[in-house]
Amino acid sequence: MSAESALVLEGEMTIYTAAAIRTQLQDYVTGRQHCVLDLTAVSEIDSAGLQLLLWVRRVAAEQRADFQLRSISPPVAQVLELLQLEQGLNLKTSDAARKQHES
């Protein structure tokens, strides 16, 4: 799986941007075998944003595609840690470990 195939999301992942990101994710995931998200540039995430991540993982699973979070920003890391979702969203362990050290 190559770097070009990852979807890089930037800025807010909140209720205000949820509709736009949904379209973005839908377009990206359709027909793809390997879904990789890069959330390094996500400045803020709320429940709606989290819900989108859970949704897209599910859509990927429905079409039997891999799902992976390649890299995440500290705000995203905090939420995933709170909800203990690092594994569930297949966050690369190095990132998770790095996050652990930061916090």
Binding site: I15, R22, S47, Q51, L54, L83, Q84
Partner: protein
């Protein structure tokens, strides 16, 4: 029940609750940590808020809510109960009463609050440190110490949150609740679910919320605190909180330990021990109501058990419910033995007692008729009826009897406020609160009593400095005592204050022309002068008492109740005022006597003995008005002399009888022509025309249809004494 009577019930309930609150605050003043009193204050505010809410009295709800919240903080130890705070709480209590009075006065029930009340309420709330409630989305920030974890590994709260679709649109961010929750303890395990099975990914709406969470949570916070985290999510989230096993055991223990007199409903019981939150209760009650409403149309099925609904809702484990049911049942069977209270309109009771009075008169008439007709075998039946009638009379009167304590305890506040205003230290001791008397009498005695107690505070007890100089305890004591004595209730008000200065009273009375300078008066008679109109010994009228009206009004009020008031005082030591009242105003046991052409009733409770005058003929008579009864000097009055109704047809050598009567500590004799025996006497007040008639308390209708006057023994004695003073002067 129509709205008006419901409102009336509400107002009465509030009055009771506020009384409880006042008592509790008075206790707290002495002992700020008393948990029972803290609870009482909290409960009073809480209940008034709840009931006020049902009626839509928003100002009441808003005001009491703030006080309730504050009391909750005090109760949980987050806030100190300081003296100024108690003071403010007193004022809050009074303000609540003012709010309720306002509602009571307003027929429609929805008039806006008067600006004065509004301002007063706002000022009080400001003093309580009340800030306007935060907007519902804001999560309150609480400072908790680092949580200490319970040792058991499986000691976890199970919390399930299912958010509704509109949660995001309502400004909820489920994550914020979890973050807040994590501040109270440890999120041991979190499962985040996106149950989309029912919706395909095409129709996924990113702005609707589908999330649900299952959380294993470790914390030593109680259920109320944990549920408080989700307080604002109630509308948009299905919340279930299950207690850990250890808490479960604690609930069962608490249930077993709950005192039985504090158990009301299952729901309240569970809320009170913290097993469920009030919100969970409301939700379950609504389900219960809904389910019974559905069934209403079809068949009168039994309501679903609240416990079942709570278990189903996941609010509580069934073990706790079972224990609660057990505790509730024990309490219920116990309470059936205890007294159950029914509220009855006082007017209905009054009507019942009137009817019983008529029945007493009628049954006396029957007896007379039977006797006249000479039907001997009727006697037994008449006796039976008489017995039953007297039983009914006693029971009917008993219905109106209330313990006086409740009314006396209001004086604690009177004394507290008055002594604070005057800078005096005063203890009020109340004894005999369980003494019962007719409610109508209680209501009428409160005003005179209030006056007497204010007098004791104002004129009786001295300032602490003065007391110290006089070698007395700086804290004065007012002792309020009540007890039964031969068909009467005696109320004593005793203070250890300055006492009355007989010389000053006499001087004042002479100055006012109430007594002549050369008149000879006993000390007792001089003291009694303070009951004369227009005499006040305190030079300066204070805001509390001493405007020169009062004591005479007090005496008049008490005499209107067929009571007497006695006074004893020693200068520098204290004053004791004794009020003697009949237990009831309606029916008494009387003793019927004949004198001249008329018949009279003497209250049987005051009759000590009857002696034949011929048997006492050997006794030496002092002048005209005394006889020697077994060595005791007894004043007496001949009724025919007093009422000028001697029967000239009566043979002069016919025997007379002496009825010895008691009143208070005194005794006297009444000489009558014939003794006619005991009689159930229905007291009929005399008309306005005879208001000033002395020596007569009322009238009654005899079985023959004749009328007999009821004698007021104490007044007769006063009349009888007049000639003595006249004689003494010459």
């Amino acid at each position: 029940m129509n709205l008006d009577s419901a409102r009336q019930a509400f107002i009465e309930e509030v009055a009771e609750l506020l009384q409880t609150m006042e008592d509790a605050l008075l206790t707290l003043e002495q002992n700020p940590a008393d948990p029972e009193s803290l609870n009482d204050v909290f409960r009073a505010m809480h209940t008034i808020k709840g009931t006020g809410g049902v009626f839509g009295y928003t100002p009441v709800v808003e005001f009491t809510h703030t006080v309730e919240t504050l009391m909750d903080q005090v109760r949980s130890g987050q806030m100190m109960l300081t003296k100024p705070l108690i003071e403010t709480l007193f004022e809050c209590r009074d303000h609540t009463l003012a709010l309720i009075d306002f509602i009571a006065a307003d027929a429609t029930g929805d008039a806006p609050l008067s600006p004065d009340l509004q301002r007063a309420g706002d000022a009080l709330l400001a003093r309580l440190g009340h800030v306007p409630p935060p907007t519902p989305t804001a999560v309150p920030v609480l400072n908790f110490d680092a949580p200490t974890y319970l040792p058991e590994a499986n000691d976890l709260w199970m919390i399930s949150l299912e958010f509704k679709a509109d949660a995001f649109r309502h400004g909820m961010d489920p994550l914020s609740f979890l973050r807040y929750l994590s501040s109270l303890g440890d999120l041991v395990h979190v499962v985040t679910l996106l149950p989309l099975a029912f919706i395909d990914s095409e129709h996924f709406d990113p702005e609707s919320c589908y999330l649900s969470f299952g959380i294993a949570f470790r914390s030593d916070a109680d259920k109320r605190t944990i549920a408080g985290v989700f307080e604002f999510a109630d509308e948009d989230c299905e919340i279930r909180i299950l207690e850990p096993d250890s808490a479960h055991n604690r609930y069962v223990d608490l249930l077993e330990a709950t005192p039985h007199d504090q158990i009301n409903c299952m729901g309240d019981l569970l809320v009170s021990i913290g097993a469920i939150t009030p919100f969970e209760l409301v939700r379950a009650l609504k389900i219960q109501e809904d389910s019974s409403q559905v069934l209403d149309g079809t068949e009168p099925a039994a309501k679903r058990r609240l416990g079942d609904i709570l278990v189903e809702q996941g609010s509580i484990k069934s073990g706790v419910v079972e224990q609660a049911v057990k505790t509730q049942e024990t309490a219920r069977s116990k309470r059936q033995e205890d007294n159950r209270i029914i509220r009855v309109d006082a007017q209905r009771l009054g009507h019942l007692i009137d009817l019983v009075g008529e029945l007493v008169t009628s049954s006396a008439a029957i007896r007379v008729m039977v006797k006249r007709a000479g039907i001997d075998n009727m006697n037994e039946v008449v006796d039976g009826v008489d017995y039953l009638v007297s039983e009914i009379r006693d029971n009917a009167l008993q219905l109106r009897m209330v313990a006086i304590g409740e009314s006396l305890s209001r004086f604690r506040r009177v004394v507290r406020d008055a002594s604070q205003e005057l800078g005096k230290l005063i203890d009020l001791v109340i004894t005999g609160g369980e003494t019962e008397l007719d409610k109508t009498v209680v209501e009428k005695i409160i005003d005179p009593l209030t006056h007497l107690i204010r007098n004791a505070v104002d004129h009786g007890i001295e300032e602490p400095m003065v007391r110290q100089k006089a070698d007395k305890l700086t804290t004065g004591t007012i002792h309020l005592n009540a007890y039964h004595d031969s068909g009467h209730i005696v109320i004593e008000i005793e203070d250890d204050g300055a006492g009355l200065d007989a010389a000053r009273i006499r001087a004042k009375a002479e100055a006012k022309g109430l007594v002549k300078p050369d008149e000879v008066l006993t000390r007792e008679e001089i003291l009694r002068l303070i009951f004369a109109p227009g005499l006040s010994t305190k030079e300066q009228a204070t805001s509390l008492s001493g405007r020169g009206v009062g004591m005479d009004v007090v005496r008049r009020n008490i005499e209107a109740l067929r009571g007497t008031v006695e006074l004893d005082s020693t200068l520098g030591v204290g004053t004791k005022i004794t009020i003697i009242l009949p237990l009831t105003l309606a029916i008494i046991e009387g003793f019927l006597v004949g004198a001249g052409r008329d018949q009279y009733v003497i209250p049987l409770s005051q009759v000590a003995e009857c002696v034949e005058m011929t048997a006492t003929a050997t006794l030496k008579q002092h002048g005209e008005h005394y006889i020697n009864l077994r060595g005791e000097v007894l004043p007496f009055i001949r009724l025919t002399d007093l009422f000028h109704n001697a029967d000239w047809h009566r043979a002069t050598n016919q025997r007379e009888s002496l009825v010895v009567v008691r009143f208070g500590h005194h005794k006297m004799g009444l000489v009558v022509d014939t003794l006619l025996g005991e009689l159930q006497t229905v007291i009929k007040p005399l008309g306005k025309l005879f208001e000033r008639l002395r020596g007569v308390a009322g009238a009654t209708i005899l079985g023959t249809g004749d009328i007999a006057l009821i004698l007021d023994v104490a007044e007769l004695a006063a009349i009888g004494q007049v000639p003595r003073h006249v004689a003494a002067k010459h």
